[in-house]
Amino acid sequence: MLNFMDVYERSLDGPVISEKEFNMKVFVPTVRDVVKKYDIKLDTDNPVATDDAAADNLFHAGVELLSRVGLYCMDSNRIVRFTEEEIRKELAEASGECHVGEGKDARVYGMRVPDDPKRPWFHGGWSWICTSEEIATNQLEALASLPYADSLKIPVIKTLRGIPFSGGSPGEMYAAIRQIRIGREAAKRAGRPGMPIMNLVGQASAAVTTIGASAPQFGARPTDGWIVGIIAEMKTDYGMMNKVAYLLAWGANIGAESAPILGGWCGGPEGTAVVNVADIILGIVGYKSNYHLTFPIDSRLGCATTRGILAVVSAASQACSRNVRVPVNWLCYTAAGVNTRMYFHEAAAYLLTSVTGGTASVGIPHPAKGVKVDASTPMEAKFGIEVSRAAAKLNRDKARELVPKLVAKYESDLANAPEGETYQDCYDVETGKPHEDYVRLYDDVVDELTKMGIPFE
């Protein structure tokens, strides 16, 4: 088994190569070769796959890709290489479980498999949608109070006392500390003091602010979970590696994060699926992660509900849930925003695909590509919980029947999706209750989807 110091050492003496050459001469041709060698084919007409043999084949393709490409360190301009034997040994030793939370809220975040009737873990919160300072505290309390939410994700604030701040700045440090403190307090007020926070430190972009804000006196605990990014595609830097080193020394949970880009270096859906699998394996081998957050994204539309991305999610979630012992959260970014029918159609299509594919956990499908400030509400969380629980009662064959119908409802509008509303537009900020029109829309959509065949409780 590799120690993280082995990984670091290989970043010092691996083959030297420029980033451009790594992209064009190592990564791109190897992805193409692996796709061809393993005859990877995704069906974007009906994105939900059902073939276990194809899923296993994709897994082996991901292992080979990682063994041939490695992990590129942007600071040392060297490739950290792993042999196939090392990779398979690491996978064999992976536990498949992540122990999080404390006291009555201590949980085991574990795996699911395709067609698994077990409900997926639910992450209550959103990672990168910006929240105004004024409503951040109320939002965190609402998130911590969500029924069936197993963990908390803390939203990001854009300003601190009205002052905008840049990555790695003192403003970011203070904001990160503030958000963790408020998140912890919100969980206490919701009667869940031991609830784990699993997107630390979303507020911090730099290693220094991540590590600084993670100090225990500000509320973080090793039974929380930290997200450490694999830079697209299959790259790292010493900032990310510093986070890993710190968290390993502390014994904290590490969630590797990946966002392979369809249309970027990965090429089309097949290449993106192989890279997605390779990333999840790389998280274990390179970052010693014990959970993973992934969100393959369409480069042209900036969302995750295109046919191509759904096909990637379906294939990669099955390949990994069958073969890679790490709980994975496939995270959805819809094109449409809050309080739109299109949002719910997109979210449902994604959740049916990922849950029947064996995703360990789901989160709130992020509206409006996650870019609109204050554009997420507890209503989307409620929908995420209800649909994911319903999806666990379905299998891939049923999802294969339903997902194309959902996609047909929205795909012609993806390029010009409605931006939707903000929390303040559709909720009473004082009482924390949704406006009547949003409740009516929600109930109408649930009725529509129930008639389609989604078994809401």
Partner: protein, 218 residues
């Protein structure tokens, strides 16, 4: 080899990303004493247009774009001395400085935009990633840029886009450059808020935006 065959070979070489074939045919073009500007227009640029069109339709991706661009440039290295000897130069549509702001190392979207802008006839100066504010400002001056295109892929690094604009104002050069924004978390509202000249969601939005600001400059 007749000139139409040369043009076709150059076009397909760019489409296929075949540098050997493009160099061979660029040399053939010189041997045949074909006007290098016509070689670019009738051969090389057509190849770029094919790849650009395929990219917009989702039939080609960033690797094909980059390979087409690299292949085009390989041909230009051969044609340039003759163009200079004939005192000819390609009319460029404008100069765009492209970079990802400080603190941010994401580059895929930025690379797509840079390559698509090049395929549409713009001179692109790619500053790379994690670019300090003053580097943008100073390079814009050196390159005589028309447009500064700032990419940010994280909400935490978006303020750097504002900082570039503020620095241009402080140096009294804001009016010299159009500043456009792009990147995952960036929105039109943000662009308006910080006084940018525009925001593009896709690479083609960037082309349309640059063309618009260039026409407003004239």
């Amino acid at each position: 080899m007749d000139k139409n065959t040369i043009f076709k070979n150059l076009e397909t070489a760019v489409v296929d990303g075949d540098e050997d074939r493009v160099k061979e045919n660029a040399n053939e073009a010189l041997k045949a004493k074909i006007d290098p500007l016509v070689v670019v227009e009738q051969g090389l640029s057509k190849g770029l247009a094919v790849v650009g069109d395929r990219f917009e339709k989702g039939e080609a991706y960033l690797p094909e774009l980059m390979m087409a661009g690299d292949t085009f440039n390989a041909a230009m290295e051969i044609l340039k001395p003759e163009m200079e000897a004939q005192k000819k130069e390609i009319t460029k549509a404008g100069t765009v400085l492209v970079g990802t702001v400080k603190g941010d190392v994401h580059d895929i979207g930025k690379n797509i935009v840079a390559t698509v802008l090049e395929t549409h006839g713009f001179t692109v100066v790619d500053m790379g990633v994690d670019v300090p504010i003053l580097n943008f400002v100073e390079q814009a001056e050196k390159a005589n840029a028309d447009v500064i295109a700032l990419s940010s892929l994280m909400t935490n690094t978006m303020p750097e886009q504002r900082n570039v604009i503020e620095t241009l104002k402080q140096r009294n050069v804001r009016d010299k450059y159009a500043v456009i924004l792009g990147g995952g978390p960036v929105t039109a509202d943000w662009a308006n808020e910080i006084g940018a000249d525009g925001y593009g969601q896709t690479a083609m939005d960037a082309v349309a935006l640059v063309r618009k600001v260039m026409s407003q400059k004239k």
